[in-house]
Symmetry: C2
Subunit: 345 residues, 2 copies
């Protein structure tokens, strides 16, 4: 695999990934719900040509994937890698995505909006994600005409995205905040300042494995820089709180703490059947152990990769055939053992 | 460690060890409850001299341990290795034991009877245990005069041991009989034919880790050969039943079976805190896995050794200091990891 998850970013003991996405629509096309097949195809062609043009410094790193032609498993696998959204994975429209070869950038065409430019970096790297997004946006703006209004900013299909069209989010691993129950206070506080907290796969997805996505709820009335700074600031506070609580929990009873971590590692790396729910739970403990220096010789990048590989779509890609849930639990356990070098046992 | 448990015996997939013990008393001493300190010491001296005499082919292999002078921890450690009985470990009398250097033979002096000659072999080797016991008994009978009656045979302190003075027992690992619940039928059937079923440490000890000790309840009215054949026969039947059930359980759902085994191995070899009860439970699963060829690279002899090392007395010998139960749980986990080569993690 090649992607953001096989690199280690700053603050990676708590921050898993940073993501920025911009919603954009083109002036000379109707909004997606009102587009004909022909218009959808025309839009794909136009954006593809613009993005892959030799003028584009990124062009050599971009590849186009025609989502319409993909099987449900392939679509799901791309969704699990955050290359496309759940909406696009399930879309009946003509749609596609341009992906950078390191999977840090993707441009979805014909999602909820005409364009969704998205950049993802490991750890706490909001500034880099924003810069790459902005560069691509600026380039495309020179090639096509965006739907833009001087009062409202960028026009989007759903009014919640209007203005900057930006969503900035950080994925945080917050096991200590969760164990101690303080996460409830965090969720409440975030709600009051219009910051959304979601699970691993965006809206309506549950926080499995103590993974929380922190993002701005409003894209209007703030500049892009303000949104980035706001989310970065909140994430930094949560990172500090999480670190303090981890130390506190450890110092309360180091043996019991390490026992929990190592039991999870033992089951995770030895089981023959493992549900997705249990895998996320154990992976969270193992990640915590690695990040606290309790478990050595395991890299956080490997755990990031595993987090994606154990999802249903990627499991089925690995097995190269459709799997029912029972089969998935067996293949999931097999992949985990393989990653831990336990495949022969 | 040097003992029966570091060798692999026949039928070791189910039979852990075979043991024969003979109860003997000397004619010219009162029975133990009525002995004076001086008589106790005189008896120890007489037996010691007789056993260590150059006439005795075993003499060079025997060492005398003065139990009276030992700390409670050292006594407990010997008891856990089955070298002395629980009674002797707790005895207030002058007492001692002669032990073979491979720990296969031990002669307790001033236990419930004047002498308890005991031989223990790995796996199903009742005949060898009986032969060694008999040889030692014959030798001693030439040196001292046993209390013997033509009608009753050897006289013993407790009437249940009168006659041959023999108890023949086999320790069996019966996880499949236990999992399926058939063990209840076995216990009932054994009761009807006067065969006792006990736990790991004899009378009143519970069957922890699915270990069951099968032994004759009556020592009168049967020859030694008949007792040995009877217990051997019953053990062989149980071994066959256990093997069939293991295969059946495995075939019902191989993945679920292996999953159970490997999860137990994962926890057993990674935990940082482990109670005795949990250790026996997990050890039983790991033993089953090794014996069914599911777990490779782990030797059954190592598990036998571990079964003894994780007992409270041996744990405290290992730590070289008294340990409270909480500390024992930590040292137990440490020893287990060490044996599995996980001590650095």
């Amino acid at each position: 695999m090649a992607g953001w998850y096989i690199e280690k970013g700053p603050e990676s003991d708590v921050a898993v990934s940073s993501r920025v996405r911009l919603a954009r629509n083109l002036k000379n096309f109707p909004f997606p719900p009102r587009m004909s097949r022909e218009q959808e195809e025309m839009l794909i062609r136009d954006i593809r040509n613009a993005a892959l043009d030799k003028d584009n410094n990124f062009a050599s790193n971009l590849a186009f994937i025609d989502i319409t032609g993909l099987s449900p498993i392939d679509r799901q696998a791309l969704m699990e890698k955050h290359i496309i959204s759940r909406d696009m994975a399930e879309s009946q429209n003509r749609c596609g995505v341009l992906v950078g070869n390191d999977e840090k950038i993707s441009i979805m065409i014909n999602e909820e909006d005409h364009l969704r430019i998205q950049c993802m970096f490991p750890g706490m790297q909001m500034d880099k994600a924003w810069k790459l997004c902005n560069d691509m946006d600026t380039y495309l703006e020179g090639k096509v005409e965006y739907a833009y209004n001087d009062d409202y900013g960028y026009l989007t299909c759903c009014p919640t995205n209007i203005g900057t069209g930006m969503r900035a989010s950080v994925m945080l691993h917050l096991p200590a905040l969760t164990m101690t129950g303080y996460i409830k206070n965090v969720l409440e506080a975030c709600g009051k300042i219009s910051v959304a907290v979601r699970g691993l796969y965006g809206e309506n997805s549950e926080a499995s494995g103590n993974m929380f996505q922190i993002s701005n709820q409003i894209s209007l009335g703030q500049t892009e820089g303000e949104i980035i700074n706001n989310i970065t600031g909140i994430a930094s506070q949560l990172i500090e709180q999480e670190r303090l609580l981890r130390k506190e929990l450890y110092n309360q009873n180091p043996y019991r703490f390490e026992d929990r971590i190592y039991r999870s590692l033992g089951v995770f790396s030895n089981a023959r059947i493992m549900t997705s729910e249990e895998a996320h739970k154990l992976l969270s403990d193992v990640r915590l152990g690695v990040n606290m220096g309790i478990i050595k010789d395991i890299k956080i990048e490997m755990l990031n990769e595993l987090m994606i590989l154990i999802q249903p779509g990627n499991l089925q890609k690995y097995a190269a055939r459709p799997l029912n849930p029972g089969e998935r639990d067996i293949i999931r356990a097999e992949i985990i053992r393989k990653m831990f070098g336990n495949s022969n046992t």
